[in-house]
């Protein structure tokens, strides 16, 4: 027996959450594309396992901009106030399985040498409901990094489309069970997930090659068409770099945490003017190394879920996948 829920009940659930001051986020249509955004109204909800939103749900845990603390001088006295804690309840609907799978990966980072309470509070307050993947596209490569369209990692619950605005609900955590408690009905219908996309490269081989070859001539060719923007890393579910900056004046201001990316020419620019990663090729190397050699050496898994966002949205049709495929070819020969 499976548990099913209607779209109407989900909308009511969102309505209730919002009336209690909580947030709901889901893919929202804008122009030709979909973006994960906070829902204004429950009716905006789009649950379609074929769509590929541009951005990642990571921004509901690790927002592009966050105030850490505020400072103010009262005479000669410096007053520092902590930023308000994030106490709102959040529910994310329709996350792609490969997007949600980034959360356990990010958890390790934000609880490693430093306990990042900003991230952790949001994680505690958020329930992630994924939607079963129905149509991988030619940027997807979850199967190449050990995941698949039926990955449940990072999901508190999953919805599977049954047609006629009905969904099968599968709960994977206590949070998920609590969310749907009393809202589902028993049924004999079960939902399906898309067939896994083809495996594009041998992850073990790539990781091994990368850990043995910190530098490689390949990047000077593979990075040529990269224009050095931050798009790929900012919509990447697993990228997590940030910069800490003070904003405001000498007397009053705040300390903020803003997204940063290794693809920017500024990323490792020293005050002396020297930049150890002064060219796009070494910046690309940095991204590939971090994801497939450095993070794995620390945490035992790759820093990539194969969601394909970075390749799908790259204006140069690049992102990380083509580079990994070429490295794999080189490693094989």
């Amino acid at each position: 027996m499976s548990q099913i829920i209607s779209r109407k009940t989900i909308e009511q659930l969102i309505g209730k959450l919002q009336s209690e001051g909580g947030h709901a986020a889901a893919p929202v249509a804008a122009g030709k594309r979909y973006f994960f955004r906070p829902l204004q109204k429950a009716e905006q909800l789009v649950l379609d396992g074929k769509i590929m939103p541009v951005n990642s749900v990571k921004e509901f845990f690790f927002p592009p901009h966050e105030v850490i603390c505020r400072y103010q001088y009262e005479g000669k006295e410096l007053q520092i106030t902590d930023a308000e804690p994030f106490e709102k309840e959040q529910i994310i609907f329709g996350a792609r399985p490969c997007d949600a799978a980034s959360l356990p990966i990010l958890d390790k980072i934000f609880a490693w040498d430093y306990q990042d309470r900003f991230y952790q509070q949001r994680r505690e307050n958020t329930t992630v409901v994924t939607l079963a993947c129905q149509q991988p596209d030619n940027s997807c490569f979850c199967t190449s990094v050990g995941l698949s369209p039926d990955t449940t990692s990072g999901a508190d619950a999953e919805l599977l489309e049954l047609g006629n605005d009905l969904y099968e609900v599968r709960c994977y955590t206590e949070k998920g069970k609590k969310l749907f408690e009393g809202l589902t009905e028993e049924s004999v219908k079960t939902g399906k997930t898309a067939a896994p996309p083809e495996i594009r490269f041998d992850m073990e081989r790539v990781s091994k090659y990368l850990s043995e070859h910190f530098d490689d001539s390949i990047y000077s060719t593979t990075s040529l068409r990269c224009v050095g923007c931050g798009a790929c890393t900012y919509i990447c579910p697993t990228c997590h770099c940030f910069d800490i900056v003070d904003e405001g004046g000498a007397a009053k201001g705040c300390r903020v945490k803003n997204w940063d990316t290794c693809q920017f020419a500024m990323f490792t620019l020293h005050a002396s003017g020297h930049n150890p990663r002064g060219e796009q090729a070494v910046r690309q190397r940095n991204r590939v190394q971090h994801k497939f050699a450095i993070y794995p050496s620390k945490f035992g898994a790759v820093l990539c879920t194969g969601c394909g966002n970075c390749t799908r949205e790259c204006s140069a049709s690049l992102g990380i996948r083509p580079v990994l495929e070429l490295i794999d070819k080189k490693a094989e020969s």
């Binding site: 804008a30 122009g31 030709k32 594309r33 973006f35 955004r37 541009v54 951005n55 921004e59 592009p64 901009h65 030619n138 940027s139 000077s220 990075s223 040529l224 068409r225 224009v227 050095g228 923007c229 931050g230 798009a231 900012y234 919509i235 910069d243 900056v245 904003e247 903020v256 803003n258 997204w259 990316t261 920017f264 020419a265 500024m266 060219e279 796009q280 090729a281 390749t311 949205e313 204006s315 140069a316 049709s317 690049l318 992102g319 996948r321 083509p322 495929e325 070429l326």
Partner: protein, 283 residues
């Protein structure tokens, strides 16, 4: 002969004659899509592709130091991209005598399976200011759309509604700078938003920081933006940056009769002083 083949031949000729060291063109990249390719070997010019998916503006690569290192360029441009070259030349960013420009006749390109906005009012099917133009055997009539049609939506709003619209749109900017990086006209070595001693523009992706960034960029593109649409197409927040650029383009056309990129031998609009200027303060 199909246009693509003619293009490949011309590119080969140019490399063989050593008129250029690298051809910056379109090709089928590893993802299966069309992307920029940089061909240095005359035997590989067969990889050049030309079709209606060749949407990006390749002139953006002229500013990249990684590409400059490849030597004297031969660049492939559509009519709209050729306008960017004209502006770059006016602003002394490129030396036309040290490069070759191949224009390809174009009847419109697509962005995410739909015709790009700019193509509906395009008047440069045959690219201007080129060293060689590769024509198509079969012709199509020129589109009749108006360049500023998209602005009607904004014109129909009152100032309060317009401000709300921009607040909504710009609040989503994540400061990835894909707009800047994809813009051929954003060629500064250090962009003002990257100046951090002291910081001049908030680096935060807040409404204030985003307004500062996007308005600043729009102003820096006034009278310079050629409307190639590369910034809008690249924006991962889905902000229609065309609207900002078109607003300023319309202002420069209406007030100064200036359309960026149309002429090769003019002074830049913002860099020109004219005693006839209608503003008093300038005299």
């Amino acid at each position: 002969m199909p246009q693509q083949e003619k293009l490949q031949q011309k590119a080969k000729e140019i490399l063989l004659e050593k008129k250029a060291d690298v051809v910056i063109g379109y090709g089928k990249v590893e993802t299966g899509n069309i992307g920029a390719v940089f061909i240095t070997d005359p035997e590989r010019t067969g990889e050049l592709v030309w079709n209606n998916l060749c949407t990006t503006n390749l002139s953006v690569y002229l500013k990249r130091k990684e590409i400059k290192k490849l030597g004297k360029p031969c660049i492939i441009v559509k009519g709209c991209d050729a306008k960017a070259l004209a502006v770059l030349e006016i602003e002394n960013q490129i030396d036309r005598s040290a490069m070759t420009v191949i224009g390809v006749e174009c009847f419109g390109v697509q962005d995410r399976c739909e015709p790009q906005y700019k193509c509906a009012s395009c008047n440069v099917q045959l690219p201007p200011h080129c060293d060689f133009v590769i024509e198509r055997d079969t012709k199509q009539s020129a589109p009749q759309g108006s360049r500023y049609e998209k602005l009607e939506m904004l014109d129909n709003m009152d100032s309060k509604e317009r401000f709300e619209y921009w607040k909504q749109e710009l609040s989503r900017c994540i400061k990835c700078y894909a707009c800047r990086q994809n813009c051929p006209m954003c060629y500064c070595d250090v962009c003002v938003v990257d100046k951090n001693r002291p910081i001049r523009i908030d680096t935060s992706a807040t409404l204030k920081g985003n307004f500062a960034w996007n308005i600043l960029r729009a102003f820096h593109l006034a009278g310079r933006c050629v409307g190639c649409g590369a910034c809008s197409a690249a924006c991962p927040a889905g902000i229609d940056l065309d609207l900002l650029n078109l607003t300023l383009a319309k202002a420069s056309e209406e007030n100064f009769g200036y359309i960026a990129g149309v002429q090769r031998n003019v002074e830049p609009l913002v860099g020109t002083f004219s005693p006839d200027d209608k503003e008093e303060f300038i005299r």
